[in-house]
């Protein structure tokens, strides 16, 4: 019974798809604004090679941006968590960095990095790095005080405290940051592609100029699937890192 409910999220999707199909075919919604789901699928099949190329460009850029975010965000989190003074000095800038809208700085990225992959990767990185920093700092600075006293009692070195206590204790939160960053990296890549003209973002922009709403929908669908794919890939790792949380009851 429970396992059959795993497919429950497909029910609203199916409902909306059928409704969209019906509304479009019956003329309730104008096809030039809301193409029918079947026509979007048809476009996807007909232009498969174009979409495949754009999709993999976005996968590569978002993946690289996410990888950089994970590496840099974690490193920055470790540095910021190491000292209250460092945190007080630099953390407000990390927050400020997060509040700057990427759409406003994307043109600057083009000026600095040119039209192409580096701009898209930088955009994906900028959008997705903050949750990794924030979650890493939060996780690394909220270690159980009793465990910290235990390590002090055992005369543990700062490196032992970091790598044997603070870091393992923070892994669930750091991983939470990675998962948020996964979705954001796709958004960042798409925004970067709007400006630099490549990948799914570039495809959306070009299709908009051509008034090909069906193509826009198809590209948006792929972009959403890409976000889900990234999130799902990271979710696959979750059971491995949380195996110790399994209680006898579950």
């Amino acid at each position: 019974m429970i396992s059959s409910w795993r497919l429950a999220p497909l029910i609203p999707l199916l409902g909306v798809t059928l409704l969209g199909e019906f509304a479009s075919r019956s003329g309730w919604l104008p096809a030039y604004l809301f193409p029918s789901p079947s026509s979007v699928l048809k476009t996807l099949v007909e232009d498969a090679s174009l979409y495949r190329k754009a999709f993999f460009e976005t996968v590569l850029a978002a993946g690289a941006g996410l990888g950089l975010s994970m590496a840099f965000g974690l490193l920055a989190g470790l540095v910021l968590a190491a000292s209250t003074r460092i945190r007080k000095m630099f953390y407000p800038y990390a927050i400020f960095f997060q509040t700057v809208p990427i759409i406003a700085i994307a043109p600057l990225l083009v000026i600095w990095l040119g039209y192409g992959m580096p701009t898209v990767i930088a955009s994906a990185f900028i959008v997705s790095v903050f949750p990794v920093i924030a979650n890493s700092v939060q996780g690394l600075t909220s270690t159980d005080p009793v465990s910290l006293q235990l390590f002090r009692m055992l005369d543990a070195t700062p490196a032992q405290i970091l790598f044997r206590l603070r870091f393992p204790a923070a892994i669930p939160q750091i991983f939470g940051g990675f998962r948020i960053a996964a979705g954001l990296s796709v958004i960042g890549a798409i925004v970067g592609e709007f400006i630099s003209g490549s990948g799914l973002g570039g495809f959306v922009d070009a299709s908009r100029n051509q008034q090909r709403v069906d193509r826009v929908f198809a590209a948006v669908l792929l972009a959403a699937l890409l976000g889900i794919l990234f999130f799902y890939c990271l979710s696959l790792v979750h059971p491995i890192i949380s195996r110790h949380e399994k209680t006898p009851e579950n």
Partner: protein
Amino acid sequence: MIRARALGKRYESTGGGLAPLDLEVERGQWVTLLGPSGCGKSTFLKLVAGLEVPGEGGVETSVPRSRMSFVFQEPALLSWSTVEENVILPLRLRGADRKEALEKALPWMEKLGILSFRSSFPAQLSGGQKMRVSLARALVTDPDLLLLDEPFAALDEPIRIELGLELRELFLQMKSTILMVTHSITEGLWLGDRVLVFQGRPGKVVLDEALALGDKRPLSLRGDVRFLSRVEQCFNLLKEGRT
């Protein structure tokens, strides 16, 4: 072994802490510390362990910190490490290799009845089992001084009694010194050789007495008239301190 001279520590925010205290503890004694919350019992343990800095006075111990172990009220186990890894943690942090650490840890794990679930994670254990792991981790270094801060507080009465009996037995074998903070008068007197009763905030010692109940502490001792009169004496002092 432990010599405190006018040792005090006050917490301005709560008004609690420890009033200046002069105290000597000899090797091989089990000293029970009784008193209300905030009277400085745990603070005293932390001052002895060097986890807190004295506000006034000082404390000397002939035991280096590497020969002390602290058992907290919470088991404070590393949730991502197995039982075995938790027990050998003190040895590993001090540079022992895994094999050497396990050789030392296995007899303790056997004595405390946790050997059969050495590969389990803390989340899979009951409260009593977690405390056994915490005790094994404290004992694996063969400490000369064991500091116990309400170690059985979160456990059911039958498990408290069972662990108390086992710990008393181990204490006699190890010939180490124990300072134990507890809120249970019966448990504290049953297990200890000497009792300190604290009153007030900041707390001061109003009773410091050797119990002379012998080495072995069978459960039946808890029903003994002499024992019960001691319990009553401590109870009255604690009650008096509250009013």
